[in-house]
Every structure is written in C-alpha cells, then in structure tokens.
C-alpha cells in the first residue's frame, strides 16, 4: 500500500540518509550505511578472560565498527557492553602520543623523541643498578597485553637487563587459582571448557557474579537445557544470586568453613566417589579427618545461615549427577584464598566430578590474558609453567632459546606485595609499570603512592597520560592498545585467541612489543633476542618452550590457524594435530573442514584421571581456617566488601570511562551499597551521602540503599579511586594475592550534597 504522501513533508534528505541502514555483507545483516565495511576480520576482545570473538568492520583496513562474531565458539554472536564499545577506548583525547619525560627543574612532563626517552630509560635504570645492585630495579606488568609481549618483557628483564623482581596485576586476580591448581593438580590447568556450563546439572558459583562480571558466560549458563540447579555462595544478593535456584548468603569470609562443612557432610552421607579417590588422588584420609569436626551446626553458626539451607545445599550437591564448581574473585581475594580454592577442588576430587562433561573445579579468570601471563610471562614461573629453582628446567630453557648457560636466574622473583615492601626498605629503587594502574588498584593505596615517591626512577608504559599511575611517572612511554597490535590472548578455558592490528595508534605510540625491542636494543642486549623479531616469531618460540609440557601448543601452525578455527585450546600438541589432520586432503590447520574442526573445538582436561603431578595423582590440600585479620569491633562495626560494579565498568575505569555510551550505564561517582535497616539505623537521608572510614583512610560516597547487601555489610565497587585507600595490606600466605573482600569500617550519615 502506498502511504498518502503530503508533498510538503520531507520524507528524505540528508538527516534521514544519515541514519540509513544497508546490507553490510559478510554475514553481518544491515549496518549503518556510513559505516559499511569493505572487509571484516575477527579479533578477540581485550577486556576480560571470557575471550569473546568480535568482528571488526573494516574500511581500507581500519576498523570503523565492531560486532560480536556469530561463529566464535565462546560468545556465539553476543558481547557485553565493553566488547561492543571496545574501539571507543582507542579514540580518547588523552592518549599518550609521544614519550614524556619529567623535567627535574620544573616538575612538568615534557614531550621527547623516542631516542631520548630510550636513553633516559637505559641510563637511569643502569645507574640505579650500579648504585644499588642489579636487583634494585623491578617491573609491575599486566594481564592485558599479548602473550608474546609478556614473554619478551620477562625475557628482556630477567635475561637481558639482569633484573629479578617483577610481578604483574594478575597477582591481584588469579594468583590464587594459579597456586591452588599447581599444588592440587600439578599444573596451573583450569580443566573445563565453556560447554560445561551447558552440560552441568548443578552449577555451584562461589564468590562469583558472572551475570555482571562475565555476562557472556552467564549466557552460556542460561543456555543450559538440563534444568540445572544454580547455587550461588555469596554474601550479596547479586544479579547472579537473583538468577539462582539457591542462594546461600554466607557471612563474608566464612567460605572456607562452609566448604569444609559441605565436604564433611558429603563424606558422612557417603556421597563420595571412593573408586576415583583411590585411583587418582592422594591425601584424602587426612583431609577427611581434618574436616570431620566441621559439624553442620558449627558451620551454620559461623556462616550465619539457617541449618535447613545448609542441608538443602548438601542435598543438591550430593544428588545431582553432574556437579560443577565455579569460582572468581570472592574466593581469590581472601586472606586464606588458596586453601579456599583448594577446598573447592577437593569437593570436585572427592566426588569424582572432574574430567567429565558438566563437572570440574573451575576458576573463571579475570583479565583477557591472565592465562597467558600465568604460563608464558617468565615472572613467577619460568617459561611454560617451569620452576626457576629447577636446574634441569633452566638448562632446558637456555638450550631451547639459545641462551648462554647461566642466563636464567635460579631465584624466584618477589611477589607484588614484596616489591612494594622492597621500595619501602630501599631494596627497590627503579620501577617500570606496564599497562596497569597500580596507584588506583593496589591495596592500601595511600601507602603505595607514598612509596612511589621514594623511587629514584618510575617508568610508566600506558595508553593514556591521565591514569593515576601515569601522572606519577618520571618517564611515560606511549603504548599502542588492543586492536592496534598483534598477538595472542589465552582465555579462561585455555583458548588462544588472536588480536590483530585494525587501528593505527596515535602519534608515536608503539606496541609494547616494539617498545621492548627498542629497549633491548638501547640496553645493548638485543643479540639475545635475535629470534624475537615479530610477535608471530615469538609465538614460534613459545611453541618450542611448551613442547612436552601440559600446555603443549606445538600443534598450532600459527596465527592463521588460530584465526580460522575460532581460537584453539591448549593443549594442542603436534600429535593431536597429526591425529586431526588428514595428511592427504588437509593442507593446513587453517583450512580444516568444519566436521573435524568441531571435534577439537571444546575440550576439557583430565578425562583419564591422570594429573600432571609427580605420581599422576591429584592432591588434597587443606589447613585449619584462620580468623580474618581485621575483624569488626565496636569502633569499626561494618564489613566493607568490594567487587565489580556493573558490566559496563572495567577495573580502574581507565578504558571504560572513555565511552560516552558506557558512561551512561553506571554511576559516575563513588557509591556505597547499604542495607535499608542500616540506613534507618544511621538515620540516612533518602538521597544522603555516607562517610566510610577504615583504620587507614576515609571516603565520602553516595548512598545506594538496597537489600542486596546484608545488614552489617557495605559494598563499594572497585572502579572508584576513593576505595583502595581504605583496604588493608593482607595477602594469602601461599598465593600472596591481596584480600580485597574484608576490612572493618565505620559509617556516618551525611546530608545530601
């Protein structure tokens, strides 16, 4: 039917055309006509470790838009707001476009050319080393750069610059999972694949809020067609808890007690897999004896939950055929986090719920490449999950990389907190911070920032000149970001994904890879890195380093194969490649037909019950629970919890604050979640503000009254810089990961601003 057209109405024109949509081709459906691509390419997202595949819409090779990749096995065409807006972070006006060097006379940061910046870097770092010893320089790196870049950095620093102490912000998120897996299973090997979300009958989330922190993993949970029990152990009624079938609102940091209680109850019920325990584990009897004292009554009193809720929890875990356990920062960031993570692993081991579809003790990773850092950054572990203390491993690495004997140090590096202590004691005098915002994110922030002032030389390598850390630098090196460089990430389920160059960085900014190579050159150790010319060449070295290790990736041809197959999970050894590839018909992995590619797309570990420990058995680790280091008292009667605020915010908000559309999806100013009863007790005004005071600092924030938190607890999202001055320096003794999840605070109601 033709609409009656009134001639004086403008049905078309420039403003209408502005919004026209046209078929985009490339399987995209309609796209804005202004942004119609002439090519597309896949790129893995650079925010979290979900590792979603995105499709970059290219015009002349440059990305003009993004959409989630429907063929990528992880996210199946979906993305969270951060992924959709990933390009916005690159367009920010506060990008660092040239090196900046602090003028000692004026104190101002002044633009310098790269050669001068490199000279300053090398001469001042070397001078620190000359005066205070080679180990007086350190670096703090990240889980946000490519594996090849991390590998080059770790090699450059330890082999070329002869430094020792270095760590990365993965200490703040995944160190616990790393240590827990390594001790219990023999290798840092999250055993699952994302299909396990869909194949489980009972998903137990411990200190994990995937609905907000990993929205695409939550999508996979909701795609589960087995009517699963979804059990959430969390003090807060999070978005995930609201979507659960059972929410256990345990008291903060009663998790270890509760998990031991569950183990004890399962043993008493006989709901354990004796055959699996006997064939594949070690130390169960001692564990069973240790947890036998954890009676339901005692556990419930400590966790502050009703007895029938505890019994329901045990009942569901005991009776559902496939049980999977998932944990995130609620576990990893605690004062006894390694044992807590291992309590989860113990539950899976004693019930034989590992290595089969829909099971596993599964750590959900935080940063996009924390997994790459854990395997190949040469920081806490020698390349490929080896030990620096192991002479054979050192020799092996030296020979694989063609390094002179004795190049690999035999000592372990200090962890993040010890490096910070080292600045205080004067042992560390030069610090290089790469792609992390420590001045915002590290615990007891005020102390940290005061200590930065004691350094003789602080170098910050970042995308932006405006981060809290960059503003304190003596030298700022301008880095290219995600999407402006090439390399691989490894996601939570051990999938290697590819990052490509689809944008030009501003000004003189260079990829971290190039910066490290320039520093190697300027330092005079470039000859050690003659084989480290390009990211893909380094990928070849990493393959070599992985041979025979549990993380063997020798079967991956190269970047094209990763790109074509929608990522490849480790392990993928040469033998596996030979098995899947038909030597006659298949030219390469990159052209593998879909029928056979599907067979290697989702793989889990330990189906045979063999673990990479010395005797092939998984180990039960446990310790008696200890009280929190800073319990509440009459002076500081509230518990401060921290965590992710919304799905539109990431860490210290340096990137997510660059997108105007994301900014509309979260509160701009710091806020405190507080229970209505507590708000009434404080006589808090409806639109009032709260002063939150800990023994270390105080902040003022907007009150967000909600029964999502329990009385006696408040929650502040980690994205606001006001928060971390309040947190205290407590680390887990095994993983040395800081505890962000519990400190005592006092509250005071303030009138509206």
């Amino acid at each position: 039917m033709n609409l009656p057209r009134i001639p004086w109405r403008a049905w078309d024109g420039p403003l209408t055309t502005d919004l026209a949509r046209v078929p985009g081709g490339f399987g995209l459906g309609q796209v804005p006509a202004r942004l119609k691509p002439d090519a597309t390419t896949g790129i893995v997202c650079g925010y979290c470790a979900t590792g979603c595949g995105l499709t970059a819409h290219l015009v002349n090779g440059e990305a003009v838009n993004l959409s989630p990749d429907p063929r990528f096995p992880v996210n199946q065409g979906m993305a969270c707001p951060k992924g959709w807006e990933a390009l916005a972070a690159l367009d920010a006006p506060d990008r660092a476009t040239t090196p900046l060097l602090r003028n000692p006379a004026t104190g101002a940061m002044e633009p310098v050319v790269w050669s001068k910046a490199l000279h300053a870097f090398v001469s001042r770092m070397k001078s620190v080393q000359q005066n205070w010893g080679p180990q007086s320089i350190a670096f703090l790196s990240t889980g946000q750069i490519c594996t090849e870049e991390m590998a080059l950095l770790g090699a450059l620093f330890k082999f070329g610059m002869r430094g020792l102490h270095c760590d990365s912000n993965t200490r703040q998120c995944m160190a616990t999972a790393h240590v827990a897996y390594k001790q219990s299973l023999g290798f840092d090997a999250p055993p699952y694949t994302y299909a396990d979300f869909e194949e489980s009958d009972c998903l137990v989330f411990v200190g994990s809020n995937p609905a907000v922190a990993h929205p695409i993993l939550w999508q996979r949970v909701l795609q589960n067609r087995r009517s699963p029990e979804i059990i959430v152990l969390d003090p807060r009624r999070t978005e995930t808890a609201m979507g659960a079938t059972l929410h256990v609102p345990l008291a903060p940091k009663s998790d270890l007690v509760l998990l031991y209680g569950v183990a004890s109850a399962l043993i008493r019920r006989g709901a354990v897999d004796r055959a699996f325990i006997e064939a594949h584990t070690r130390g169960f009897e001692a564990f069973a004896a240790a947890v036998s004292d954890f009676t339901p009554e005692q556990v419930c009193a400590e966790a502050k939950i009703p007895l029938d809720l505890f019994e329901t929890l045990v009942e569901r875990i005991a009776t559902r055929p496939r049980v999977s356990y998932w944990w995130t920062m609620g576990v990893n960031q605690g004062h006894e986090s390694t044992r807590t993570a291992q309590a989860i692993i113990n539950l899976a081991l004693m019930t034989g719920q590992i290595g089969k579809p829909g099971t596993g003790a599964n750590s959900i990773t935080g940063q996009c490449n924390a997994m790459g850092s854990r395997l190949f950054s040469n920081v806490t572990n020698l390349f490929g999950g080896r030990d620096f203390a192991d002479p054979a491993a050192r020799l092996e690495v030296e020979s694989l990389l063609g390094l002179p004997a004795g190049t690999v140090p035999s000592e372990n590096s200090w962890a993040y907190d010890r490096i910070v202590d080292g600045i205080e004691s004067g042992a560390i005098r030069g610090l290089w911070i790469i792609a992390t915002n420590s001045s915002h994110s590290w615990i007891q922030q005020r102390r940290f920032n005061e200590l930065l002032g004691r350094l003789e030389f602080l170098v910050v390598q970042d995308l932006y000149t405006t981060t809290e850390t960059a503003q304190r630098a003596d030298l700022l090196l301008p880095a290219a970001g995600w999407g402006e460089k090439e390399g691989t990430f490894i996601n939570s389920e051990r999938r290697l994904g590819l990052v490509k160059r689809v944008r030009r960085p501003p000004g003189q900014a260079l990829s971290d890879f190039h910066i490290f190579r320039l520093i190697a050159e300027a330092w005079g150790c470039a000859d050690l890195f003659a084989d480290w010319q390009t990211p893909e060449a380094v990928f070849g070295l990493l393959k070599r380093l992985s041979r025979g290790r549990p993380c063997d990736i020798t079967g991956i041809d190269g970047y094209r194969a990763i790109d074509a197959l929608g990522g490849i999970q480790w392990p993928f050894s040469q033998a596996m490649r030979d098995h899947v590839l038909d030597p006659v018909s298949d030219a390469s992995l990159a052209t593998l037909p879909e029928t056979r590619a599907a067979g290697i797309r989702e793989r889990r570990l330990f189906a045979d019950g063999c673990f990479p420990t010395s005797d092939g058995r998984a180990v039960f680790h446990h310790s008696p629970p200890t009280p929190v280091p800073e319990p509440t008292d009459p002076e500081y009667p509230w518990i401060l919890l921290t965590g992710r605020g919304t799905s539109s915010q990431w860490h210290t908000n340096t990137r997510t604050s660059k997108s105007p559309v994301l900014r509309q999806l979260y509160p701009e100013t710091c806020y405190v979640e507080i229970h209505p009863d507590d708000a009434a007790r404080l006589a808090l005004h409806e639109k009032g503000r709260i002063r939150v005071r800990s023994r270390r600092a105080e902040l003022v924030a907007d009150a967000w009254v909600t029964p999502a938190v329990q009385p006696g607890q408040v929650f502040i999202p980690m994205h606001y810089r006001e928060l971390n001055p309040l947190t205290l320096t407590v680390v887990d003794p095994h993983s040395r990961q800081p505890s962000y999840k519990f400190c005592a605070v006092a509250l005071e109601a303030l009138p509206p601003a």
């Binding site: 039917m1 399987g27 796209v31 804005p32 969270c80 059972l246 329901t312 160059r501 919304t646 509309q664």
Partner: protein, 469 residues
C-alpha cells in the same frame, strides 16, 4: 625507530588473514534470532511491539550499546535505556531468591496513541498503518523538542549537533528484511523479542475498566512508569516476580539534569506579560471608548515589544529555525501548532493595535475611525485568551503531574493578569515605579517558570507523583 612507527601504522589484517565470511549473504545470526521475531507481519488490527522478559534479563545492558553501534549513532546516543527497579525494603529469604534489583530495558514503545505524533507541530511523526511503527521524519523536524514533553517516557532525544530529535524506529528496515532489531540481536539471554499485539486489546488494557492490570498480564505498567493510559504503549513487560515494594531508580544513581530551555521560558513569560499589558491598554482605551493618549501608546508599544521579544526568543529554542515556517502543519492535533498560530495572529493584531493607537494618539487627524479601533482591541483580547488557552494546553496535554491543569492554568493566566495590572499601573500610576515593577516581576516570573519546567521533567519528579493528573 622510524621503521617501527611506520610498521605500527600499517594495517595488514585483511591481507594476512582469510575472509571466512566474505561470501556470506544472509546474516549469520539469523538462526539464533529467528524465534524472537513473528513469523508474519502484523495483520489487520495488529501492530509490532517489543516484548521484554524481565526474568531473562541479567542487566548486562548490551542492548543499549548494540543499538548505539548497529545504528551508527552519536558517541553518547542510544535509543534504548535502562532503569533499575530496586527493593526499598528487605526481601524475605526464600529458597528461590527474589529479585532485589531489576533492570528494565526500554526503547520507544510505539504507542497506539503516540504523544509525540499528536504533539508534533510539523507532522514529523508517522505511525505506519501496517506495522504500527512510530517513525520520525528527521528532515521534517524543526527541533522544537515538544515531542520530548508529550512523550510520557521522554523517548525522543535531542541531538545538539544536528538540531533535531531522533528516536527508535524499531529497526524498521531490518524487520522488513527479516532481520531482528539491534537490541533483539544483541541480547545474550533472549529477553527482548518482537511480537504482534492486537491493538484493541492493548487499548483496553491501558484505558479500559481493568486498566490496573500490571506486568503479570503483560503490560507496560511497572513501578515508576507513567500511566499507560496516556499514550497506550505497545511494549509488553513480563515477569513472574512480584513488583510490590520496588522503586524506580536511574541506572546512574542520579537523575540527569535537563536543559533549562531558557528561550522557551523567555517566550512564555514575555508573551504573557506583554499580552497582559496590551490587554490593559485595549480595555482602558478601545473598549471603554476613551481616546488614547501618548502614554497609552507608549505602554502599548512596551507590551508589543515584550511580546515580540518573546517571539524572537522562541526561535532560539529551535534546532532548525529555518524550517520554522512548517509550524502550522500540525494544527489538527498539536497544541503547540495552535499556540504558534494563535501567537502569530496575536502578534499581527498587536502590531496593528499598537500602530493604530499610536496614530490615534500622535497623528493629528488620524483617518482611522475609533470604531474600527474598538474592533481591533476586542480582537486582540480574544486572541490573547486563545493564545493563553493554547499555551496552557501545550503543557496540560502532556499528562505530566508537574504540569497538570491546576498547576499550569493559574500560573499562565495569572501572569497575563499581572501583566494587565502592571499595564494599568503604567497607564495611570507613577511610571518609574511601574517600569521597575515590570522588570522585577518579569525576572521573578522567569525564575518561577524555570521551576515550573523542572517540575515537569520525568527524571526530576518523584516516582510517587506520577499518578494520572
């Protein structure tokens, strides 16, 4: 070093990697969203509508950003938004956890009786008779923003850079091609779908006897939302959860500040004051048969100046002032159009009146008869009444609590009456005192009108005040 910088700027992804999807014609996501679209277009008596399953929504907000990206909108622009509904009281512990926070995603509701369309003075809205999609004609729009007032949900958004409003078109072209709208495509949990809804039943649900029926029956009445009776929104929200005790909160925590619309405030205040002054002169001279004096003429000129200053100010309110001539086109439904017509006529007659009175007062042997002058004066008064009624109606018909008739009527009429009082004072009283009073009171009225405007904006009104006016 230069080589590195040069290499860094070379984009090679296209050459180096295969183009797996180069030959894909159909959208790759089609399989996934097919079930979220109706199999056939709406039949007679039906229209398209969004249906939102609040229980499926995990509040990830991807829909908001996907709308922005897939429609190529401005950096801060999206046609979808999220509000939160938060429990204000403790929720009892139950084995199956009740919600304490719900995210409510909303876009244009493609109303059966769209307030934007009725309010638009230039016919820049079209409700498609087949699909029910309420479409905005961007090139027709003059950027008056009145549709933002007449839409109870404030769906149209003003674009500063373009000087027009833009809004959701339900991705009309995508639907025509069998594709899902951006938000439907992007929801990881399939919480948003497109349905066909019967129009009569929608009207009945929103305006009929049982119009209190809430979300459980599938409706568009959630806590904190304006009454569905105003525009009969087609969106259907579903949830199995109780909504009692939930209160609406903006997702950013604080309501966004609205522009003060100073040109509009100046227009209202100045035309009403000026109109009142002219009325005083008309009543004191023409209507009473008195021969006007020079002072009468000066006062009339002052009133005329006020009115036209207001009219000129109103042009600065428009994003597309060159298209302002279209403003009469919506007279059949739009009170803004009627206000403009009435004001236009009032402006012409006030000029005639002022010229006439000046002639009578200052030109010896002015040829125009007094009788005709009386006609002009009475016409002026009639038009002033019409203009004021239109000005009041412009705000009352928005259905907003802060602009209900008992708030708007006395304010606007009162301003005209005060103008009359001051005008009378100017004609008979001490002139400097009256002029000072006029300037002071005009300023005070501006401030009062600013408060009045703020009271009508959705975000600034307490949700409890949103009952039907």
């Amino acid at each position: 070093m230069d080589a590195f910088v040069a290499e860094q700027r070379r984009l090679t992804a296209v050459e180096r990697f295969s183009q797996r999807q180069a030959d894909a014609r159909a959208p790759l996501l089609e399989q996934r969203y097919r079930a979220l679209l109706p199999a056939t277009p709406p039949g007679p008596g039906e229209q398209y509508a969004f249906e939102v399953d609040l229980d499926q929504c995990s509040s990830c907000k991807a829909c908001v950003v996907a709308c922005h990206s897939l429609n190529g909108l401005e950096p801060e622009e999206s046609w979808r938004e999220i509000r939160l509904m938060v429990a204000s009281r403790p929720v009892p512990q139950t084995p199956r956890p009740e919600a304490v926070t719900l995210a409510v995603t909303s876009a244009c509701h493609h109303c059966v009786d769209p307030g934007c369309l009725k309010g638009c003075p230039v016919l820049a809205y079209e409700k498609d008779p087949l699909t029910g999609i309420v479409r905005h004609l961007d090139d027709q729009c003059i950027g008056c923003s009145y549709c933002i007032f007449t839409c109870p949900y404030e769906v149209p958004k003003f674009s500063e850079s373009r000087g027009i409003v833009r809004k959701c078109d339900l991705c009309q072209g995508r639907l025509q091609a069998g594709e899902a709208p951006a938000c439907v495509q992007a929801c990881p949990n399939e919480a948003i779908r497109i349905t066909r809804v019967p129009v009569a039943a929608t009207i009945d649900r929103c305006r009929g006897e049982a119009s209190t029926a809430g979300h459980r029956d599938g409706g568009c009445s959630l806590p904190g939302m304006p009454p569905a009776s105003i525009t009969v929104p087609s969106t259907v929200y579903r949830s199995r959860r109780p909504m009692d005790g939930l209160e609406s909160r903006p997702v950013t925590g604080t309501p966004c500040r609205r522009d003060a619309h100073w040109p509009l405030i100046a227009m209202l205040v100045l035309t009403q004051w000026g109109g009142g002054i002219l009325a005083a002169v008309a009543l004191g001279t023409g209507m009473s048969g008195r021969i006007p004096t020079g002072r009468d003429a000066a006062v009339a000129a002052l009133g005329c100046l006020w009115v036209h200053a207001g009219l000129i100010a109103s042009v600065f309110h428009l994003g597309q002032p060159l298209k302002a001539w279209r403003i009469w086109m919506g007279w059949k439904t739009s009170w803004l159009s009627r206000e403009a017509l009435a004001l236009g006529a009032f402006s012409s007659v006030s000029l005639l009146f002022t010229g006439w009175i000046a002639g009578l007062a200052w030109v010896p042997a002015f040829p125009a008869p007094l009788r005709g002058f009386q006609g002009v004066a009475s016409g002026l008064l009639v038009l002033l009444v019409l203009t004021t009624v239109a000005q009041i109606q412009v705000y009352v018909v928005t259905g907003r609590a802060g602009w209900r008739s008992r708030r708007t009527g006395p304010r606007f009429a009162g301003t005209v009456l005060m103008g009359w009082g001051v005008g009378w004072g100017l004609m008979v009283g001490p002139s400097w005192v009256s002029i000072l009073a006029l300037l002071l009171l005009t300023g005070l009225s501006m401030f009062e009108r600013w408060r009045f405007f703020a009271g009508g904006f959705l975000a600034d009104v307490d949700s409890r005040d949103q009952e039907r006016p």
